[in-house]
Point group: C2
Chain length 147, copies 2
Amino acid sequence: MKNCPLCSAAGGVLVAQTSHYRLIRADDASHPIFYRLIWQSHVAEFSDLSVPERLLCMEAVATVEQVLRQQLPPDLRPTKINLASLGNVVPHLHWHIIARYDWDNHYPDPVWATARRAPDAQQLQALQAQLPALDAALQAALAALAA
Amino acid sequence: MKNCPLCSAAGGVLVAQTSHYRLIRADDASHPIFYRLIWQSHVAEFSDLSVPERLLCMEAVATVEQVLRQQLPPDLRPTKINLASLGNVVPHLHWHIIARYDWDNHYPDPVWATARRAPDAQQLQALQAQLPALDAALQAALAALAA
């Protein structure tokens, strides 16, 4: 699709992909554990997918969620996982998968709200240090799902 | 679950329900076409569901989305559907299903962001007038899905 930024570029750090979807890591300074599951074909809405495609898509989203819940060390376990398919700005189906923490600068509001507090540099650095291992675990889990 | 507002009350205008989930209409003055698909059991995260439960849940979400896309008269067709499972405030699994319009007071930002403009009273009134027919169509579509 011409002029669609998710058709013309990966949209972030590419972590894994199949012919149906790809997982990228977004670059969000306040929320380092922020991934997007992007459907490879250009469709706007979740209900544009067929039933088997929806199942495939959401099992990939659930797999990412499970890795975020299970892979991190106990003191960095997310308080909550946030999932969202919005697409108002880029109407190409993509799921935001975000690990939220009770100390993050928007919590308990959505990450799109006005921040409630300053970012916690030390905690953010601890999360940043986990990203290589987390990316590797996500890659392995999605490869197992697709196998 | 004690102290969970979605275990102790419907959480909005009850539109339809099965033993697994219920659909309620939220009361959002700026976004009248705002529904929530609430899982009946108290689980916090989407990945707490089994694979068949996830399929059931997301087929219900997709059914609601399809009705919102198809049921409204052409001049009131949503610009975009927004789906989200956040649960930071109430960690009981529920999906927000929101019809968005390019004239709504947050568009293209998520509804949780700071409003960009004043609400359009005339358009909102036109949407409000559609709610009884929309609720009935949703009820019928979810009954057909569960049949």
